[in-house]
């Protein structure tokens, strides 16, 4: 196993209010490892501690306890940062600059020489769908455009690791799909993508691995197919023929219409029995569809568990 791209151990963060009054335990011991390839989704409801974690990883905040290592080195290490790209949550930029100037400015912080930087800026702005808007001041950008220029600046150093805080927020459905495709493209190039989201549909489509954080603690983590594949919740079986499911275990007729019937079965034994029994009764099986838990269900049940803690 190669070194993880990012490893977070026992991370705690407590915010202390003014005059030390009031404490908010934003992170209560977060552990996770982002492998060096693929897309890692960091999911959780609002206020769970996603942004706080990412800000510690990028060195904007300092942990109260615990440790973050990126490619084996401490967070905030400048050599590591050479290979890091970061998109903050609903990013804010110098609004007196144009899109082009902004990306160029961030590129110059990596010491990318002028000509190369100019070409790369063009390429990146094209890539995030801002062609023709390069010369427009950011003051005139919409929220979605800011998100896009934010992605462009995060990629200006062609980083190995990209950390994106809610990259799809503020975008319309088309924009979301474009960003999803862009992230998938980055994965193909062998990059590590660690992104946070509270929108599960986006995550479910692209993540290889996820961690679910609730109230400052990771409650579920692992490869998506394993987490969801652990339990098939039920099977839908459709057949043509006599609409007689009488005598089949766990039978639950969903529809029955013009000789077609669909029944829902909730155990493997029930499926086995139905599959052997139905043909004997003169029915022809058309389809058997297993339904796994969706990420949403997993998410909601994780939250519930933690709430009841």
């Amino acid at each position: 196993m190669p070194d993880p791209a990012i490893s977070i151990r026992g991370l705690k963060k407590t915010f202390v209010g003014h005059l030390s009054i009031g404490r908010i335990h934003a992170l209560r011991g977060v552990d996770l490892e982002v492998p060096s390839t693929g897309i890692y989704g960091f999911l959780g409801p609002n206020g769970a501690g996603k942004t706080t974690t990412l800000k510690i990883v990028t060195g904007l905040l300092f942990p109260s306890e615990g440790e973050v290592r990126i490619m084996g080195r401490p967070a905030g290490d400048n050599l590591v940062r050479m290979n890091l790209g970061f998109l903050p949550e609903s990013p804010y930029f110098y609004d007196y600059l144009t899109g082009e100037e902004l990306v160029t400015f961030f590129g110059s912080l990596f010491g990318i020489p002028g000509k190369e930087l100019k070409d790369r800026t063009r390429l990146l702005l094209d890539m995030v769908g801002l062609r023709g808007k390069e010369k427009l001041p950011l003051r005139k950008y919409s929220k979605g455009m800011l998100q896009r220029v934010g992605l462009a600046q995060a990629m200006v150093n062609d980083p190995q690791i990209l950390i994106l805080d809610e990259p799809m927020s503020g975008l319309d459905p088309i924009g979301r799909r474009e960003i999803r495709d862009l992230i998938l493209g980055l994965k193909e190039k062998g990059k590590t993508i660690f992104f946070s989201s509270h929108i599960l549909a986006d995550a479910e489509m692209i993540c290889d691995e996820v961690a679910i954080i609730v109230k400052g603690k990771v409650v579920q983590k692992g490869r998506l197919e394993e987490l969801l594949g652990k339990d098939v919740r039920f099977w839908d079986l459709s057949f043509k023929g006599p609409a007689d499911a009488e005598g089949l275990p766990s039978r639950h007729v969903i529809t029955s219409h013009e000789g077609y019937t669909m029944i829902r079965l909730d155990s493997e034994e029930a499926v086995e029995q139905a599959v052997s029994e139905l043909p004997k009764r003169g029915a022809r099986i058309i389809s058997l569809v297993p339904h796994k838990a969706s990420l949403e269900e997993l998410f909601l049940s994780s939250i519930e568990e933690r709430e009841n803690d």
């Binding site: 800000k55 050599l79 903050p88 804010y92 110098y94 007196y96 961030f106 990596f110 010491g111």
Partner: protein, 264 residues
């Protein structure tokens, strides 16, 4: 690789300076303050007609005073937001995760504003020179005085950026303005306040304390310039040294305070 990061630091500071410069010249407040300063120069000319003394002298004195005042205003009011607003507006979230120490950001911001103030100052001194030339009173002392104004700006800006890295703009403004006032009056404290104390011990302590206060009057050349007294080279060097040490210490303090700050 470490050397490479060292060379990179220079590029980064330069990039941040350049960006700070752009920010200023694309903002409205900069032009408002400029307009005030130019109005002030026009006002100096008008007043010079109404006074009995030498017209050139009045334009020179009032002109320099006005330039100094508005430069200090720019320094304070841009300076106090230099770091604070970047955090407040969250624009800093994109900058600091880049491969550089936080101190590069502070230093780049500082010298960026100093570049703005320098350009601004040169423009105003040029206008003043033209006005003086019209009244056949141009003197190189204008630019000598300019150097001293610039040194004062260097100190005030360093104070402002120090407060900006730890406090809100209102608090920073109060502290920086207080500093400015104390800086200009502290040299009179020993003469005025010490005689009010009774015991010699108290007097000694007070005198020491007053010596520790910043003294901006050592950068004040207006009397020398008004009365055409040449400024000694040693005097200029001492002032440069004082400014250099003061600014370095303040920037160091700002960087140290900012190094481990949580940017929430």
């Amino acid at each position: 690789m470490t050397e490479k990061l060292g060379a990179l630091s220079l590029l980064q500071v330069r990039a941040i300076m350049k960006n700070t410069f752009k920010e200023a010249i694309r903002s409205r407040i900069f032009y408002i303050l400029m307009a005030f300063a130019v109005t002030m120069l026009g006002f100096a000319v008008v007043l010079s007609f109404l006074t009995l003394g030498s017209q050139k002298r009045v334009i020179l004195d009032l002109g320099l005073a006005g330039i100094s005042f508005f430069s200090v205003m720019t320094s304070i009011f841009v300076g106090i937001g230099l770091i604070y607003l970047e955090v407040e507006k969250k624009t800093i979230y994109n900058v600091l995760p880049k491969p550089m120490p936080r101190s590069n950001f502070i230093i780049g911001r500082y010298f960026g504003l100093m570049a703005v103030l320098g350009t601004n100052l040169l423009a105003m001194l040029a206008i003043l020179s033209v006005l003086l030339a019209v009244f056949k009173g141009f003197t190189m002392a204008v630019f000598q005085a300019g150097l001293f104004i610039y040194m004062e700006l260097a100190i005030i800006t360093a104070i402002a950026i120090f407060f900006s890295s730890v406090a809100s703009p209102v608090l920073s403004a109060i502290c920086t303005v207080s500093f400015y006032i104390i800086g200009h009056t502290s040299s009179t404290f020993p003469d005025i306040l010490v005689p009010l104390l009774r015991s010699p011990f108290q007097k000694k302590i007070a005198t020491w304390f007053f010596h520790l206060l910043p003294d901006l009057n050592i950068l004040n050349t207006s009397n020398l310039i008004t009365y055409d007294i040449p400024i000694a080279e040693g005097f200029t060097l001492r002032a440069l040294l004082y400014t250099g040490v003061f600014v370095s210490l303040l920037l160091l303090a700002a960087c140290l305070c900012f190094r481990k700050r949580d940017l929430v």
